[in-house]
């Protein structure tokens, strides 16, 4: 009898840690324009290759190439650029406000602005996003009032959700933006259910689920995929792979799967992988998937390859677990710079217009901030009344809560 082999546990680890030289040599990036664009009605079995490549439109030189190019006009792209700039400036100011003690907590979208900003352009009024905390771009693209976002962040008297949730956990039904849950991935299956409801009702609306790379490990992710697959729900399921989940590298969630997109194959879902820092590519893919859902052809899974350039939140310092320079070395670049360069190359934009636009947005964001701060910040005393804490637990306040509210003095 042969001697039994002693086993050992495999624990994945990132190639580099603080102090090491960033290494993205393992990130395979095809040339822009290289990946094919199948028909929207394609059989998922015939497009499995799209889960292993990266759909890209913008080349290194800022040219728009290949079959996925051409879904947006110059004017639309300029608008998209402005939205990304707004999001970035908004984030920077709110991050600062948190540091100044005006609120408790903040999370920014730095480096991944293109994902939500470009995606939203493929949606119609009435469609519903089930976002995570890193999709503020969905609201900004619809020109949801910055002041309302800030009021929420400051938990002040004008906060649309009455100081009940952590900063950035917005809710905006009229803008197709479902109330954000702090519990990861719970909303992925809800998106599928919303889409199923639209189909049951013979409606025309579609739903969109959002999840981070790390959060794909949650059971809800798999439950969402099986429901989407079984009922062929009109839903787009988005995975934003920004390489990190707090201190945990994406390899911990990906495990032995070649890519996150490839997770869809076991469920028979058409699964696409796209350059998340390429505004044009994100939009083209979003449009493809949204059309598929609208034509009752079923769900699509999309992985956006991007990079979380900032800390996880204001409670986090990424220098403790990844090289400081890693962000600069990210091979897919910065989504704002890439779109700007493209527009300049096309003769539709200039450095001068860019600088001027940036200054205008700075002013707009600043005046919104002044307006919000005039209403109140977290600690300035103008918070929603504690009485409100007892409201909305139920449609009608039950007697025990009325009693407790009175006991609390309200």
């Amino acid at each position: 009898m042969s001697k039994a082999q002693r086993l050992s546990l495999h624990v994945p680890a990132p190639k580099v840690r603080p102090g090491d030289t960033p290494d993205f040599s393992g990130v395979e990036i095809p040339k822009a324009g290289e990946v094919r664009r199948p028909d929207v009605a394609a059989d998922p079995r015939d497009i499995r290759d799209l889960a292993f490549s990266v759909i890209r439109v913008l080349s290194r030189d800022g040219e728009a190439l290949g079959p996925w190019a051409g879904t947006l006009t110059h004017d639309e792209l300029i608008e998209g650029l402005k939205h990304m700039l707004t999001l970035r400036i908004f984030d920077a100011r709110m991050l600062m406000a948190q540091r100044q003690g005006k609120t408790s907590f903040f999370m920014q979208c730095l480096g991944e602005e293109a994902v939500a900003c470009a995606f939203q352009r493929a949606l119609h009024k009435g469609d519903m996003n089930f976002p995570t905390y890193r999709q503020a771009g969905l609201l900004i693209t619809q020109e949801y009032p910055l002041v309302s976002m800030m009021n929420q962040i400051y938990s002040n008297e004008a906060d649309p959700i009455r100081g009940r949730q952590l900063p950035i956990m917005y809710s905006a039904k009229d803008y197709g933006f479902f109330s954000i849950s702090g519990n990861l991935t719970t909303q992925f299956s809800q998106a599928v259910g919303w889409a199923m409801a639209s189909a049951i009702s013979r409606d025309t609306k579609i739903a969109v689920g959002w999840v981070g790379d790390g959060s794909t490990s949650e059971n809800d992710f798999h439950a969402a995929m099986v429901f989407a697959s079984t009922y062929q729900a009109p839903v787009v399921l988005n995975i934003v792979n920004n390489q990190w989940a707090i201190s945990t590298f994406q390899g911990m969630a990906k495990g032995g799967s070649a890519t996150f997109a490839a997770r869809g194959h076991g469920f028979g879902l058409p699964s696409l992988r796209v350059d998340g820092n390429d505004f044009l590519a994100v939009h083209a893919v979003a449009k493809w998937a949204a059309e598929r859902a609208r034509r009752n052809l079923g769900p699509t899974l999309i992985e956006y390859v991007t990079y979380r350039a900032g800390g996880h939140s204001t409670s986090d310092d990424p220098a403790a677990y990844r090289p400081k320079e890693e962000s600069d070395e990210w091979p897919l670049g910065d989504p704002i710079l890439r779109l700007k360069e493209h527009l300049i190359k096309e003769g539709a934009w200039s450095e001068q217009r860019h600088a001027q636009t940036e200054a205008e947005i700075e002013d707009d964001v600043m005046s919104a901030q002044k307006e919000a701060e005039a209403i109140g910040t977290l600690n300035s005393g103008n918070a929603p009344s504690p009485r409100d804490m007892f409201e909305g637990v139920y449609a009608e306040m039950p007697p025990h809560l009325i009693k407790q509210r009175q006991e609390a003095g309200y």
Binding site: Q165, G182, N183, S217, E218, T248, H400
Partner: protein
Amino acid sequence: MANMTMIEAIQSAHDSAMDRDERVVVFGEDVGFFGGVFRCTAGLQEKYGSTRCFDAPISELGIVGAAIGMAAYGLRPCIEIQFADYVYPAYDQIVSEAARLRHRSAGDFTCPLVIRMPVGGGIFGGQTHSQSPEAIFTHVSGLKTVMPSSPYDAKGLLCAAIEDPDPVIFLEPKRLYNGPFDGHHEKPVVPWRNHEAGEVPTDYYVEPLGQARVRRAGNDVTILAYGTMVYVAQAACDETGIDAEVIDLRSLLPLDIDTITESVKKTGRCVIVHEATLTGGYGGELAALVQENCFYHLEVPIQRITGWDTPYPHAQEWDYFPGPARVGRALQKAMES
């Protein structure tokens, strides 16, 4: 002895337990290289290697389910759920599996497992970083539920929990991580280094599960509290001048009913304080037990001071948190009659 915060004491408990028992493995979200978002597992991966302390995929269900398998194999997993608010995906594994394995297999399989998680509010964490879900665990037969309130107890109780042959839910009041917070949020928190319970042996020791600690001796009224509320209760005594006996339960299940009974028989009055919501909370169980054991000694009705029956708010944190003023009013009311 060394001066430690509660975080350092918990880290030290892991370290001591891993050092003396190779079967102890530690994992959870961000606990490996980074050492946990609260740093309770800092340095363990470096010291014991990445097969004894490691990061986990973000799946609470997976973390607990895998830990149950390891425990059944014969390891001693001590796992972290990043915040108690995120334990719900694992609830089925805890309730239907960990808690019942010994009983349903008639001892064929057992589950010596510790599930640690930070609980409680006071950090402006809103509804997803503030909850106190102890009652959903004390309600389950087969589980033990522990909540320390000091660095000394945190280490001793965690070592005992790791040694325990059954699953233990180990709840860490995060507002106490850095100091004995008494509810006065407007004042800077006193660090543990200025508190005697911040003196922690560096060596291994256990504080047996199921023993309460009298934090303040008194004659007029008994306060039953645990976690952050122990310090809130003490502040309420100081501020009202009422000579209350403050009992820190430390272990909710098993419960030290003898210490409770002895005290309430002496004082004839009982106020129960917890941060969790009122209805169906652990305070109801305590009130029933006090009534059963001390009925003829009670001079006034038992009162419960707790969080309100609402989700934990963000902006109105201090209106929600049962602070010393509310506890003080309850003490006065107990003494009036």
